[in-house]
């Protein structure tokens, strides 16, 4: 809690510029001081609203206090978390002993206040305000995207403003295309400035402004007639009316005609909750409709618009089998029996270790768990790996060794942190939610951000201290070492030694021993320092947790550990090979040298991610691929089966912080099967009778068998993000180049974003990676 905050609840409105700001590079946000700060530790305030006694924390604004007891005060410009505006005057209330009506969104509660929100005076004032707001409004609700979920429509319904005293002609302007995803309809706009503030304060992009003044005021984009920004679409989401509409959703449906299903975004590793809106088995929109989950209203361009790959007509919908050097459509039965026959043949001829399996970091935990079980017990090899994008193993190993497995930081911890150390990653591009949480921590909680990076990050604007280094690993070595570091690192070490409860966020620049060193040193910092390892995709963390690794069983138990093997052997009723398998690099080397003769690839495209040449893969006697699209890898396969996307299956995914959340099946795609179904059917082809009827059965086994995953199932099934605390003693990292981020941008996510019209339609997507908007 800042010093200014503890003194008086009113301090929030006239906070001085923090001294840190002096050293920060601009541009600065518009009005950093005008943000409501609640002080939950302060002495509670009691007031009366509409005859109800309300007790709330000091610093709460009246409109929030009323909401806490179920009294709704309409508002347009007020939006929780954004700075106060006081522009729309819809939230006026009468407060006894105060002369005029007051705006509930800017009035802070005080003891003994008596408030009326429903008197005739208030109702008349609101009705009059609505008359003003409707002066130029076209009232085109029947064709407006927002109709049915419009805050202006709701208020007119409640207060009535059917007749108007304005005789002048309404000013009309044609709608404008700000970008391929954002359209602006001037006459519908009520100038609440939510879009301007969310873009500035939430996203630190500030792409919107106000043109002209008075009755001619209009929202303008930053590049003449166009918007150039991160295209997160938050402006569309927070718009209370139909002024800002989505390029992917507009004029397609009415809100009440869709089915809404809450699930988890499948792009980056942050694990944002999203609500997919479905009509006729097609996704039409994604937004976090109920603001549940740790991302609240936040979604980035990929989350909000990048789901359309699911509807892509390039999806694989039938298995393909190579006949006469050509991939031809075939049946599922034929594809799976061919695969089993060829694999059996190769194993009989060259032994099980001539087969390897490459897993995915987009598929569910249950599927990853089954995949490694399939490799280990049915194929009989530990040659199983995936594209590792962050060193989760080393983090788990280091925290377990220090007996500190309560030190995994969650997404909420990043938001609430008072001090954040960011090493070797660019969250703005690679982890939009982490970047958002960091910005909010700085803006709303006065957190100090310390950055050690080789590049100039956009987050530098929020940083109290930014250190440009050649190599983050070496910097960590110097930081963690007891010896003399450079003066800058010395300053950082000193500043951090004065902080409490620092959250340490690190990317793929730190691997193996460097992570161990960082954790060991981080744990010596004052308070309860916590850690986040950043990995690229929706289930990068889950793939590691579930043991899609050559030397590690589920829950980071070493393959070489006989006791751990015995535990899983008894659970699975089959033997696990004792020798650790080949890692991904060794698998590709093995293909090159002819030692690996068959490869199974699930939801991965090594031609792109690892840069493996298709000619190398052609050396294989048998290549099996399960994927959504005909990727470069699938093109050279012997059998390709069409997999279900995240929207078409159930299961769980674990985000980069280790929070597990449930995917919900929202639709079906004819011809496809989930990796779960594929693996169970494939196992059956080998004569194994796996006892799983649904992915939930697998989840129950994971809860029972995987250390750190003993989570309460109900908490997960009601849509919670449950923290997992893995502990184990994974073997040390074999080679550093096993861990590398794909450096995806705001508009790419591996192979799947190539099939998204929305993302590829953006001008911003054509700009060089790392462009700061």
């Amino acid at each position: 809690m800042s010093e200014a905050n503890s003194k008086s609840p009113f301090a929030i409105l006239d906070q001085p510029t923090r001294p840190d700001d002096a050293g920060r590079p601009g541009p600065y946000p518009r009005s950093p001081a005008l943000s409501p700060r609640v002080n939950p530790q302060g002495e509670a305030v009691t007031l009366t609203i509409d005859g109800k006694s309300v007790t709330t924390a000091p610093g709460t604004v009246l409109i929030e206090a009323a909401r806490q007891v179920g009294i709704e005060i309409p508002s347009y410009c007020y939006y929780p978390g954004l700075s106060l505006q006081g522009a729309c005057r819809m939230c006026v209330v009468s407060i006894e002993k105060m002369g005029k009506l007051q705006t509930a969104c800017t009035t802070i509660v005080s003891n003994g206040m008596v408030v009326h929100t429903d008197s005739d005076e208030v109702k008349n004032a609101r009705k009059a305000m609505l008359e003003f707001l409707l002066t130029n409004h076209p009232l085109d609700c029947p064709v407006c995207d927002k109709g049915g979920e419009c805050e202006l429509q709701d208020a007119v319904f409640r207060y009535g403003a059917a007749e108007t005293r304005f005789l002048e002609t309404k000013q009309h302007e044609e709608e404008k295309k700000f970008s391929s995803l954002v359209y602006y309809d001037r006459p519908r706009c009520i100038l609440c400035y939510r879009c301007i503030r969310v873009c500035d304060e939430g996203m630190d992009v500030n792409a919107y402004g106000i043109g002209f003044r008075g009755g001619l005021s209009v929202i303008i984009p930053n590049r003449g007639e166009h918007l150039e920004c991160e295209e997160c679409g938050m402006c569309i989401d927070v718009c209370p009316v139909g002024a800002l509409t989505s390029g992917t959703y507009r004029y397609k449906t009415r809100p009440w005609e869709m089915t809404h299903v809450g699930t988890i975004c499948n792009h980056c590793g942050d694990g944002c909750k999203t609500t997919l809106a479905i009509r006729n088995n097609q996704i039409l929109r994604a937004n976090n409709r109920d603001h549940s989950g740790f991302n609240g209203e936040f979604l980035c361009a990929k989350g909000r618009f990048g789901w359309d790959f699911v509807n892509s007509d390039q999806r694989l919908t039938a298995p393909r089998i190579k006949r006469n050097r050509q991939l031809e459509s075939g049946s599922w039965e034929e594809a799976l029996s061919t695969a089993a026959a060829r694999l059996n043949e190769i194993i009989a001829k060259s032994g099980p270790d001539s087969v390897a399996v490459l897993g995915s970091n987009h598929t569910a935990n249950e599927e990853n768990y089954l995949l490694q079980r399939f490799a280990r017990t049915i194929l009989g090899t530990n040659n199983v790996d995936h594209h590792r994008t962050g060193d989760f193993s080393s983090l788990v190993g280091a925290l377990t060794a220090a007996n500190a497995t309560d030190r995994y930081a969650t997404m909420q911890d990043v938001f609430e942190a008072s001090s954040i150390l960011l090493l070797g990653s660019d969250p703005t591009h690679e982890h939009p939610l982490v970047a958002y949480q960091i910005r909010q921590a700085v803006r709303r909680h006065d957190a100090r951000l310390y950055i050690v990076n080789r590049a100039e990050l956009k987050l530098r604007r929020q940083a109290s201290l930014y250190l440009k280094v050649e190599d983050e690993g070496a910097a960590v070595g110097a930081l963690a070492g007891t010896g003399a570091a450079s003066p800058e690192l010395g300053t950082l070490r000193e500043r951090l030694s004065k902080e409490n409860d620092t959250v340490v966020v690190f990317g793929d620049a730190l691997r193996g021993e460097q992570v161990t060193g960082l954790v060991r040193w981080g744990l010596t910092l004052p308070g309860k320092s916590r850690f986040v390892a950043l990995g690229d995709y929706a289930n990068s963390r889950g793939a590691a947790d579930m043991g899609v690794l050559p030397d590690t069983l589920p829950g980071y138990a070493a393959v070489a550990d006989a006791a751990a093997r015995a535990r899983f052997e008894s659970a699975w009723g089959a033997e696990i090979p004792a020798q650790p398998g080949r890692n991904a690099r060794a698998i590709f080397a093995g293909i090159e040298s002819g030692e690996i003769k068959a490869l199974l690839v699930f939801g991965s495209n090594p031609v792109r991610s690892f840069g493996v040449k298709p000619e190398t893969l052609r050396k294989l006697e048998f290549l099996f691929v399960a994927d959504l699209f005909p990727t470069e890898t699938a093109e050279v396969a012997d059998v390709v089966v069409p997999a279900a996307s995240f929207a078409e299956k159930s299961g769980t995914v674990t985000n980069t912080c280790g929070q597990i959340q449930a995917l919900k099946r929202t639709m079906r795609k004819a011809g496809t099967r989930s990796d779960f179904e594929i693996l169970v059917a494939l196992a059956a082809q080998f004569g194994a009778n796996w006892p799983y009827r649904s992915s939930e059965d697998v989840l129950k086994e994971i809860i029972a068998q995987v250390r750190g995953y003993a989570i309460p199932l109900p908490a997960l099934l009601v849509g919670g993000a449950v923290v997992t605390r893995p502990q184990g003693n994974p073997p040390p990292l074999e080679r550093a180049d096993l861990i590398f981020s794909a450096r995806d941008s705001l508009f790419t996510s591996g192979s799947i974003s190539r099939y998204s019209w929305a993302l590829n339609s953006l001008d911003e997507a054509k700009k060089p990676h790392g462009t700061i908007f």
Partner: protein, 162 residues
């Protein structure tokens, strides 16, 4: 390209304010005086110097009607039609200018010599009807005076323009 003299002026003005962004409007005025209008380059430069984003500078230009993003005529004729001037024939003066120059409100002649604008009170009520040409005031106007003035400006403009 902004001149070095202008950039030096920018530095001087920004130093006067405790908050850098307070200098936006004066900077815009000096930029407009030198360039004739506020160019995109000037917007970028001002935003960079006062550490805000260009969009905030563009907002200010939109707010103040005396700041322009397009080149105006060499002589910007601003005719007042507010109360005092209205009562003394300001609207006729505006109409006369418009007919004489063949352009309307916020338009510029094809030769780039004149622009015309209808403006609110110029603070010259004692000499109504009044108008302002660039920074010079002309009061107690009649159509004849306008004709003479426009002729003079036209010949001056022809002489001096390159």
């Amino acid at each position: 390209m902004l001149s070095d003299a202008l950039k030096a002026k920018f530095d001087k003005i920004i130093a006067r304010y405790p908050l850098k962004r307070s200098a936006i409007v004066p900077l815009l005025m000096f930029a407009q005086d030198e360039i004739g209008y506020v160019s995109d380059e000037a917007i970028e430069e001002i935003a960079r110097r006062v550490e805000v984003r260009p969009i905030e500078v563009i907002e200010d230009i939109g707010y103040y009607s005396m700041l322009h993003r397009q080149p105006l005529g060499k002589y910007n004729i601003q005719v007042c039609t507010n109360v005092s001037c209205l009562l003394r024939g300001g609207e006729e003066i505006l109409e006369h200018c418009s007919k004489k120059l063949g352009i309307g409100h916020k338009q510029t002649t094809p030769d780039g010599l004149f622009s015309l604008e209808e403006v609110e009170c110029l603070g010259a009520c004692c000499g109504a009807p009044a108008m302002q040409v660039n920074y010079d005031f002309y009061e107690n106007l009649t159509p004849q005076k306008i004709d003479a003035l426009i002729e003079k400006l036209r010949s001056d403009g022809a002489k001096k323009s390159p």
